[in-house]
């Protein structure tokens, strides 16, 4: 049963229906029926994930644009706001998050090389590092709130000169908005990791079928990339 003869058989006129039929009979349990083979399924799912990431790039892009626009208007307030950030914690968190990207990438490798336990372990490590990141972030949020930097009715900035205070509040809106949205993505990623840890442990993945881990990795690395830009923009303004 050739699923799309006009597309596939034109490219490979030599393929007979019989051959395709035989291929379909011992197909992989995770091969969806509308795909020709796992390679095609893999290509389609990574492409689909990249299209989703395109929308994510524009979603975060709007935040980055707003940041750039108001930074251009209130450069001194932005500088003051960045100085209220703990750059040591920011650096530590950057290292933790890039570390989690490494373990995520290695999990793909482990799945590709049929290492079931190592895949599970590396996914679990990714989850742990992600949780450490969120823990540090929570500590930082707590500090900001205690120092009166949370924007809104509780904003009580006694550190900066009165002229700078509204601008610093605007910076903090971007700070909480951008890191908050980033953290929401991390939490979603952590939930996905739990699901994939279970599937990896069950032995779903191997050299033939590792697409879902690859796609999970694309998401996780994207979230890492957002932080790669947030870190210098929010913590390291001179």
């Amino acid at each position: 049963m050739p699923s799309n003869p006009t597309y596939y058989n034109l490219a490979h006129p030599g393929t007979t229906e019989g051959e395709e039929h035989a291929a379909h009979e011992h197909h992989h349990p995770f091969l969806q029926h509308h795909f020709e083979d796992l390679g095609q399924q893999h290509a389609a799912s990574t492409l689909g994930m990249w299209l989703f990431l395109t929308t994510e790039i524009l979603f975060f892009g709007a935040f980055f644009f707003g940041y750039a626009l108001y930074r251009n208007m209130y450069p001194e307030a932005w500088r003051a706001g960045a100085h209220h950030q703990n750059w040591v914690l920011g650096t530590a968190n950057t290292i933790v998050l890039i570390g989690s990207s490494l373990t995520m990438a290695l999990a793909v490798w482990a799945a590709q090389t049929n290492r079931r336990k190592l895949t599970t372990l590396l996914l679990a490590l990714t989850l742990i590092l992600g949780t450490v990141f969120l823990g540090v972030k929570a500590y930082e949020y707590n500090e900001h709130i205690h120092e009166g930097f949370f924007p809104g009715s509780h904003y009580h900035n006694v550190v900066d000169s009165p002229a700078l205070r509204p601008g610093v509040q605007l910076f903090m809106i971007f700070y909480f908005g951008m890191t908050g949205m980033h953290a929401v993505h991390m939490i979603i990623g952590a939930g996905l990791l739990l699901y994939f840890i279970r599937r990896a442990w069950r032995g779903d993945f191997g050299e033939e079928y590792y697409g879902p881990i690859e796609v999970m990795g694309l998401y996780w690395h994207f979230v890492d990339i957002v932080w790669i830009f947030l870190f210098p923009l929010l913590y390291l303004i001179h």
Binding site: A11, I57, F65, L102, W109, I225, I228
Partner: protein
């Protein structure tokens, strides 16, 4: 998979079964760590107007390394390359056109 499957003819070479070596993964991680240290060190020094461009250049280098090797775009079909590149092109449109509006608004105040 001995022969080239059909979809490969349409969207470039197959992404499946390409295993990136551990040396590449750890090498990229090391590069990202070096660049992180570099960006923090650069921020400790007053480089004047060059501070932000340098920080952004380092961030772009890090993001590129992650996209190409951790996200395996370097071994992806051409179609994926197009989607990735065009994503950033659209981001460029978002920035350039919106800035073209905001940064020129005061010009009309004559």
């Amino acid at each position: 998979m001995a022969h080239k499957t059909d979809y490969e003819d349409h969207i470039g070479h197959a992404p499946a079964h390409h295993v990136t070596s551990l040396a590449v993964y750890f090498g990229i991680f090391f590069l990202l760590m070096v660049l992180t240290v570099l960006t923090v060190a650069a921020a400790r020094v007053n480089l004047g107007v060059w501070n932000t461009p340098i920080a952004m250049a380092i961030a772009i280098a890090k993001a590129t390394a992650v996209i190409l090797w951790f996200m395996h775009v370097i071994h992806s079909p051409r179609l994926t390359w197009i989607v990735v590149i065009v994503s950033f092109l659209w981001l460029g449109v978002l920035f350039v056109l919106t800035f073209a509006d905001y940064l020129t608004r005061h010009w009309s105040m004559y």
